[in-house]
């Protein structure tokens, strides 16, 4: 096992264990999806109209949950110091940390998303698309969210601050994914929304680690 795969395994395992891991994240997601009909009312037409969008927004919020510990623990216990003392560039290390985060929380959320949407009243044929959106969107959420998590290292109230930093950055992926789902639900061409979401995810995977590494170096110095 090489150094990089060892890191990926460790990060995935840590993200899996972090604060209850996917169980808590998916539980939060299920909780939001349960509260929505309670607040909006049980009429099927009304719920069906908002189901894809509600499932999608809840997903963005749920992926925020475990983000704030992504770098914070390593920062507090000194592991981040040691991660920099390696021939592996810190950018690549940050990339693998986010990838582990995505594997441990993004992928379980993507499995839960179609269930939540259908439970809220979306048509079952929406399921593959919301799964694809959740996978791609999860990637974008993990990699832009990682920037917020790295920037709030060493700040007071790190968790809340991460959310404040990250939510404006979540606007494009939320719009693109929501647009694709909405278009599909109303029988319009939906592929452009999915393509834009994929492009945004690719960009955040490319740029996110640069910003995260810079933020980590700054926090350690």
């Amino acid at each position: 096992m090489s150094r990089l795969s060892a890191l990926l395994v460790r990060e995935t395992a840590l993200a899996w264990g972090r604060g209850g891991g996917p169980l808590v994240t998916v539980g939060f997601y299920a909780g939001v999806a349960t509260l929505l009909p309670l607040a909006i009312g049980p009429e099927p037409e009304r719920l069906a109209a908002i189901a894809p969008g509600a499932a999608w927004v809840a997903l963005a919020l749920a992926s925020l949950l475990s983000l704030d510990r992504l770098f914070e623990r390593d920062y507090e216990d000194g592991a981040l110091d040691l991660l920099t003392l390696s021939p592996t560039p810190l950018e690549l290390t940050c990339f693998l940390k986010c990838l582990g985060q995505w594997l441990a929380t993004g992928a379980p959320l993507a499995l839960a998303a179609p269930i939540a949407a259908i439970a809220l009243g979306a048509k079952p044929d929406l399921a593959p698309l919301i799964f694809a959106c959740a996978l791609l969107g999860g990637l974008a959420f993990a990699f832009t969210g990682g920037i917020g998590a790295a920037l709030s290292l060493g700040a007071r109230r790190g968790g809340l601050l991460t959310a404040v930093i990250v939510l404006p950055l979540f606007v494009p992926p939320v719009i693109f994914g929501g647009g694709a789902l909405d278009a599909f639900a109303s029988g319009l061409p939906w592929s452009s929304g999915l393509a834009l979401l994929g492009a945004y995810a690719a960009m955040s995977v490319a740029i996110g680690p640069l910003a995260m590494a810079a933020a980590c170096r700054n926090a350690l110095s």
Binding site: M1, L82, L85, P87
Partner: protein, 214 residues
């Protein structure tokens, strides 16, 4: 004892030949901690960094590791490029030991060995040298402070690197392990390693000393 001797043979070719600090100064939070710190450390030499609390011993160690930026001066690692030296040539053991309390000692030691470029065999040897074998299946949270420190120190042996940067390495250790780690340090020096350690008590090996005055 023969096994321990093999531990220290593996310093490869790409090792730091010399650590040189010239006119180092560090500023923290708008305050100049110290300036004009010079040091030369060759293979086989150790240096004890002393000075009152807050004088900047930890910051100096972190600056050598490239974590903290120097306000002035420079750190050189012989002929080695400093990125390569920091990536592959040195170990840093700080106050925070970098261990996750929810993982077992074995998982943590195996990961950090891998990360430092060591092999699986080295994990076992390092665990034996620091008498950690019985503890390897425990979660880190179950270890005492001294055991945790020994686990952190075992990284030094599991992935051989020439320069050890140690921040108060002895403080949580009992008398027996202070002596035991002293032996390991002496072996590291014998095999051509270098040690720069921030300490309050004298190092258990022959060392020069550098006092940081704020």
């Amino acid at each position: 004892m023969r096994r321990r001797a093999t531990l220290f043979k593996r310093l490869g070719d790409s090792v730091i030949e010399q650590l040189l600090l010239r006119g180092c100064a560090i500023r923290r939070g708008g305050r100049l901690l110290f300036e004009g710190v010079d040091l030369s450390l060759r293979r086989g030499e150790a240096c004890a960094l002393t000075g009152p609390n807050g004088s900047g011993k930890t910051s100096l160690l972190r600056a050598v590791a490239g974590l903290v930026r120097l306000e002035a001066g420079e750190v050189a690692f012989g002929d080695l490029d400093s990125a390569e030296a920091r990536g592959e040539g040195l170990h840093f053991v700080g106050h925070a030991d970098g261990l996750k309390s929810s993982r077992t000692a074995r998982e943590e030691l195996a990961f950090w060995t891998r990360w430092g470029g060591g092999t699986d065999g080295a994990v076992r040897e390092a665990a034996e040298a620091l008498d950690l074998v019985r503890l390897l299946d425990l979660e880190v949270r179950r270890l005492s402070a001294g055991q945790r420190r020994r686990l952190a120190l075992s990284r030094l042996l599991a992935a051989p690197r020439a320069l050890w940067l140690l921040d108060e390495p002895l403080s949580p250790l009992d008398a027996r392990w202070r002596e035991g780690f002293g032996v390991l340090m002496a072996r590291h020096l014998e095999s051509g390693g270098m040690i720069l350690a921030a300490v309050h008590d004298p190092l258990p090996v022959a060392a020069k000393s550098l006092e940081i005055i704020g």
